[in-house]
C-alpha cells in the first residue's frame, strides 16, 4: 500500500528539527531510518500530516569516545554500530545485539536512535541499553536533558521523549574487557524476538565479578534480571552455577501471551536463554 499524504521537511541541524517539531504540532512525526515507520505508514496505521526527516542532520551521525563513555549519535546506522571497533572493544553487548536486528538491508537504513525511540518491546536494542546503563540525550525547545535508561522506557512504544523533543545521542559507559552475548529466540531469520537475553559479564580468574542482564520482550519495557545478576557475582562461571542462577531470570517480569508463545513459555525461554547468554559471555 501507499502511505497517506503528508508534508515533508529535511532539516540540517538539531535546532531546525526542534523548530520543525514546534511548527508541525501534534501531528508531526520524526523519520530516522524509516525501517519501522515506513511499514506503519504503508499500512496506514499512522497518518501524520508532517514527516520530519532526520537523515540530513550530520551531527546526529557517528561515534566518539569521551572519557569513560562511548557516545553514539542517534542517526548512526545499525550497519555502522555493528562494525565499529571502538564499540567492539568497549561496549560489545550493544554490538552483539545490533548484529541480530532484522537483515542486512534493514541494518543499512535502520538507526540506533530510531529503534530505541520506537521502543518496540520486541526490539533488540532496548534490553542491552538498559543492561549497560546507557544515558539518553534528548533535545527540545528548552535545550537538552539526559535521561537514564531505567527512566527512558516507560511502556509499550512509549519513552521519556516528550512532545517537541528528539533523541540526539546515546551515551554508553565503557565495559572494557567484559564478555558479551545476545541470545535471541525467534521463529524465522528476520522475525522479531519472542524472547531475547542481553548478558555482559566481567570474569576475573574464572570468577564472575560483575554481571548485567537485560531481557527483551518479557514486559512492555525491557527488564533487568537483577536476581540473576546478584546470584552470579562471586560464582565461578561453570555451567552448573550459571544454570542455577538463571532460574531466577523471570522474576519481576510480566510477559505477554500471543500467537508465538504463552507467558509461561516466555518465562521458560528467559531462564534457558539467560543461562546460554551468560555462559557464552563468560566463555
Amino acid at each position: 500500500m501507499i502511505p497517506a499524504q503528508f508534508d515533508y521537511v529535511r532539516p540540517t541541524t538539531v535546532e531546525e528539527a526542534v523548530q520543525a517539531l514546534r511548527d508541525g504540532g501534534d501531528d508531526a512525526k520524526l523519520l530516522a531510518g524509516g525501517q519501522s515507520l515506513l511499514p506503519v505508514l504503508r499500512l496506514r496505521m499512522a497518518d501524520p500530516s508532517l514527516i520530519i526527516d532526520l537523515g540530513g542532520i550530520a551531527e546526529l551521525k557517528g561515534l566518539r569516545e569521551e572519557g569513560n563513555e562511548v557516545v553514539v549519535g542517534a542517526m548512526t546506522s545499525h550497519h555502522d554500530v555493528a562494525r565499529d571497533d571502538t564499540l567492539r572493544q568497549h561496549v560489545a553487548l550493544i554490538q552483539e545485539a545490533t548484529k541480530t536486528v532484522a537483515d542486512p538491508q534493514v541494518r543499512h537504513r535502520g538507526t540506533l536512535g530510531g529503534a530505541l525511540a520506537h521502543a518496540d518491546p520486541a526490539g533488540d536494542l532496548a534490553a542491552p541499553a538498559l543492561a549497560l546503563d546507557a544515558q539518553f540525550v534528548i533535545a527540545g525547545p528548552n535545550g537538552t536533558r539526559t535521561v537514564a535508561a531505567a527512566d527512558f522506557f516507560e511502556d509499550y512504544f512509549t519513552t521519556a521523549i516528550g512532545e517537541g523533543e528528539l533523541l540526539t545521542e546515546i551515551r554508553f559507559p565503557k565495559f572494557t574487557g567484559w564478555g558479551a552475548r545476545y541470545e535471541k529466540f525467534n521463529r524465522v531469520a528476520q522475525a522479531w524476538s519472542i524472547v531475547a537475553v542481553a548478558a555482559t559479564v566481567k570474569v576475573e580468574g574464572g570468577t564472575i565479578s560483575e554481571a548485567r542482564i537485560g531481557l527483551t520482550n518479557m514486559a512492555g519495557t525491557p527488564v533487568r534480571a537483577r536476581a540473576v545478576e546478584s546470584a552470579l557475582v562471586g560464582q565461578s562461571a561453570s555451567e552448573e552455577n550459571v544454570r542455577k542462577a538463571a532460574q531466577a531470570a523471570a522474576e519481576g517480569t510480566s510477559p505477554t501471551a500471543d500467537a508465538d508463545a504463552g507467558s509461561d513459555y516466555r518465562e521458560h525461554l528467559a531462564r534457558v536463554l539467560t543461562g546460554r547468554a551468560v555462559l557464552a559471555a563468560a566463555g
Binding site: 502511505p3 515533508y8 529535511r10 526527516d53 537483515d103 542486512p104
Partner: protein, 173 residues
Amino acid sequence: MARIRTTVDGLVYEDDVEPRMLLVQYLRERLGKTGTVIGCDTSNCGACTVHLDGMSVKSCSVLAVQANGAEVLTIEGLERDGQLHPMQQAFHDNHALQCGYCTPGMIMQSIDLLGDNPDPSEHEIREGIEGNLCRCTGYQNIVRAVQDAASKMKPGASATQQSSAQPVAGGGA
C-alpha cells in the same frame, strides 16, 4: 511535491514527486525500471532490493525523496556492453531460480554481500541473504550461485568476461 535529483543506473533524473512516493514506485512507475519488483510490500521479502549509495536497501522501505542526491543501482544497471554481471551469469549457470520473482533482489543483495565479504562461507551466504525470501528453490542453487560468483569475482580470478564487463561491486566496501 518535492523536487528530487537522483542518479539511477548511471543516468541523472530530475522529477517532482509526492513525498509519500516510495522509491520502488518511483523506479517502476516514473522511470519504467520494472526489473525491480514489488513482492510483499511489507519489508519482508527483499524482492525490491536495490543499492542506494552503494548499500543494499529494500526500496519499498525508502521514500523517493530520501534518495534525493543519491545514486541508485538496480538490477537493470548491472549488465555491461551486452554482458551479464558475474552474479547474474552465476544465477543463470547454476539454475538459481525457478519462478524468478525473487531473483532481482537476490542478485542485488548477493552483490552487496560480496562487497562486504568477498569470500563468504556457506553459512555467511545464508546469513547475508536472510532478508530475501525465495519460495521455490529451497535456496540450494542460490547459495551455489553466490559461491560460483565469489570465485569468479575474486581479485586475480581469470574470468575473461570481466575484462570488458567491469562488474559493479556494492556493499560500501
